[in-house]
């Protein structure tokens, strides 16, 4: 049986492996790891059902791995290898799979999630959108919140507030705070620390149940971004002193075994995926979309 700890550790080691692959020059493009933020999607996972839609963002590996136990498919997507979730077309931040979608443009997903919520309204399912604190700079966020409240949409907005957007501290980007902004729309807001999976679930279970009845909710988690924004671009000092659930759990009984299991699993996924041939886009390599100047 997969435990919460297994999931947390899978995400942790997956993200570490990515940074490692980047450092060795074995990954192309860019990636945003969720190191330090793993608890949020792991806590939410059992509160969301298969009929719920999840909208993820650029920092989405944890969101994906908490919903689908598929590190190989995700790594193949990031590395452009056979077995990739989206044929290697979308890469790290553009993934679509069974009610799960991520995209790399900040703020874009919230109105879309509101649309999905409108579609789902009355069915008992909800639309959940993950956004960061910095994304509250985008006007689309507010237009969507207004609609969600106005139309009683089953919309759950999960804010991973790590106090920074790329290199910009929240203090340079946000006047007031998220709670007050939600209050202005009459949207419920809950602020939670992201340190205890079970406590988060206890607090959120009743709130999320009412989202399903059409009462939108913004849940704001205080998290620490322990890694760089993307790769090797951290301008902060004192990152090593930030609170880290991983460090705090090292002494807990069973941790060392679970940690070794997750590490081994990720290592074997990396070995497996690295050995695969490049992905093919669609069934046919002569896909007309790939031809220069081809007519649509």
């Amino acid at each position: 049986m997969t435990t919460d700890l297994d999931r947390l550790l899978l995400i942790r080691h997956f993200e570490r492996a990515l940074l490692d692959l980047f450092a060795k020059g074995e990954l192309n493009g860019t990636t945003h790891t969720c190191l330090g933020q793993e608890i949020v999607p792991v806590a939410l996972a059992p509160l969301l059902g298969p009929r719920d839609h999840v909208f993820s963002n650029h920092r989405g590996h944890g969101h994906y791995l908490a919903r689908f136990d598929d590190p190989a498919g995700l790594l193949a997507e990031i590395m452009g290898r056979e077995g990739a979730v989206c044929d290697g077309v979308g890469g790290s931040q553009h993934i679509l799979r069974e009610g799960y979608l991520s995209t790399g443009v900040q703020g874009e997903s919230l109105p879309v999630a509101a649309g999905a919520a409108l579609h789902l309204r009355g069915s008992g399912a909800l639309a959940c959108a993950y956004i960061g604190d910095g994304t509250w700079g985008e006007g689309a966020v507010y237009e969507a919140l207004n609609l969600a409240a106005l139309w009683s949409l089953p919309l759950l907005v999960v804010v991973e507030h790590n106090g920074i957007a790329q290199t910009t501290p929240t203090s340079l980007a946000m006047a007031g705070d998220i709670g007050a902004r939600c209050a202005a729309f009459g949207v419920r807001h809950a602020a939670l620390p992201a340190d205890d999976v079970l406590e988060i679930r206890d607090r959120l279970a009743p709130l999320i149940a009412s989202v399903r009845d059409g009462a939108p909710l913004v849940v704001e988690f205080a998290v620490n971004r322990l890694g760089p924004h993307s790769k090797g671009d951290d301008t902060r000092s004192g990152v090593a002193d930030l609170r880290d659930w991983y460090r705090e759990m090292v002494g807990v009984p069973g941790f060392a075994d679970a940690d070794a299991r997750a590490r081994d699993r990720v290592e074997s996924v990396v070995r497996d995926v690295k050995a695969r041939p490049p992905s093919t886009w669609g069934q046919d390599s002569a896909d007309p979309r790939l031809l220069h100047g081809a007519k649509p």
Partner: protein
């Protein structure tokens, strides 16, 4: 000197020359100095003129337009040009319109800087070349950065024009050297048009924006050495409005013309250039102007897929050969 350093110098010059010149954008404060380092050192040297902003592309472009409306010079950096779609209203319906829709001319010194293009594996929402969406907007000038055009002169020109501009910067250029051209060729600059050529009249004229320069030169080299086909490359700094006269003068002497750009197929800048040349040279050109561009496709992330979609040296090489058949 690398292109990004030259661009950085240009920005330094603009801010130094005018204390009422502002630079706005996301994550451009030191020590980071912007996602592509073009703004490095500026916030340290001009703390009152460099403004780091929230992730609010529409608003910061509007703020730039507001500054320009009041007579200041505003340079706005959109981190990836893909996100300029969020500022489209401010650029097209406010800034470009304001220059003329109130009956008399309103000068506006607004430059929107747009790191652009693919080839870096950043994926479909971080790799596009959206120049074509800005072609033909009355009141809006479209420029593209080039390794053959000193950015200091280009910025001086954009500011002097007092019209809103979008300035596309192909990200691939940042780390390339300025004014570095293959030994096989010589180059010169007349007005805003750079010309790279050999001493014989060309078989084919390639017209390309700055971001395509290196791919075009690589194709020209192979065409010369492998096929003995002589090409002249023309790189205009301002893509729109286009000064067609000097292009026409060179194209008149050639057997074929190719316009190469990274944009995906459909409604391209090249089609606009081709139309201008056809109008002037109908009956003179031996073949229709040929277009080389990226595929009609989103730009995939994985490098092997991305390569199959984007304009490459080989796309240009093949298009030139085809155009001479």
């Amino acid at each position: 000197m690398r292109v990004v350093e030259n661009l950085n110098h240009a920005l330094h010059e603009v801010l130094a020359a005018d204390p009422r010149a502002f630079l706005l954008g996301e994550d451009l404060l030191d020590p980071y100095g912007g996602a592509f380092k073009a703004t490095r050192g500026l916030s340290t040297r001009f703390p009152a003129q460099v403004v780091t902003t929230p992730i609010s592309e529409s608003a910061i472009t509007g703020v730039g337009a507001g500054l320009a409306l009041c007579g200041d010079t505003a340079i706005v950096e959109i981190m990836f040009s893909d996100f300029v779609t969020l500022a489209f209203d401010q650029i097209v319906n406010f800034a470009a319109k304001s220059v003329s829709m109130y009956g008399s001319r309103v000068p506006m010194r607004l430059i929107v800087r747009l790191p652009t293009g693919g080839g870096r594996g950043y994926g479909p929402t971080h790799s596009q070349s959206l120049q074509k969406h800005f072609i033909g907007v009355p009141g809006l000038d479209v420029y593209e950065m080039s390794p053959l055009h000193d950015n200091r002169a280009v910025f001086a020109e954009m500011i002097a024009a007092e019209r809103p501009c979008v300035f596309f910067e192909d990200k691939i250029l940042y780390t390339k050297r300025m004014h570095e051209v293959d030994d096989l060729f010589t180059w010169d600059l007349t007005g805003g048009l750079a010309r790279v050529h050999v001493d014989t009249p060309p078989d084919c004229v390639i017209i390309a924006p700055g971001g395509v320069t290196h791919r075009a030169l690589a194709a020209m080299r192979r065409l010369l050495l492998e096929q003995e086909i002589v090409c002249t490359l023309l790189v205009p700094s301002r893509l729109h409005p286009l000064d067609a006269a000097p292009l026409v003068a060179v194209a008149r002497e050639a057997r074929s013309v190719v316009v190469a750009e990274e944009s995906t197929a459909g409604g391209t800048w090249g089609a606009e250039v081709a139309h201008a040349l056809h109008r002037e040279l109908w009956g003179v050109l031996r073949n229709p102007v040929a277009l080389a561009h990226s595929a009609d496709s989103i730009i995939p992330t994985a490098s092997h897929l991305e390569r199959a979609v984007l304009l490459t040296e080989t796309t240009i090489y093949d298009t030139v050969l085809e155009s001479l058949k």
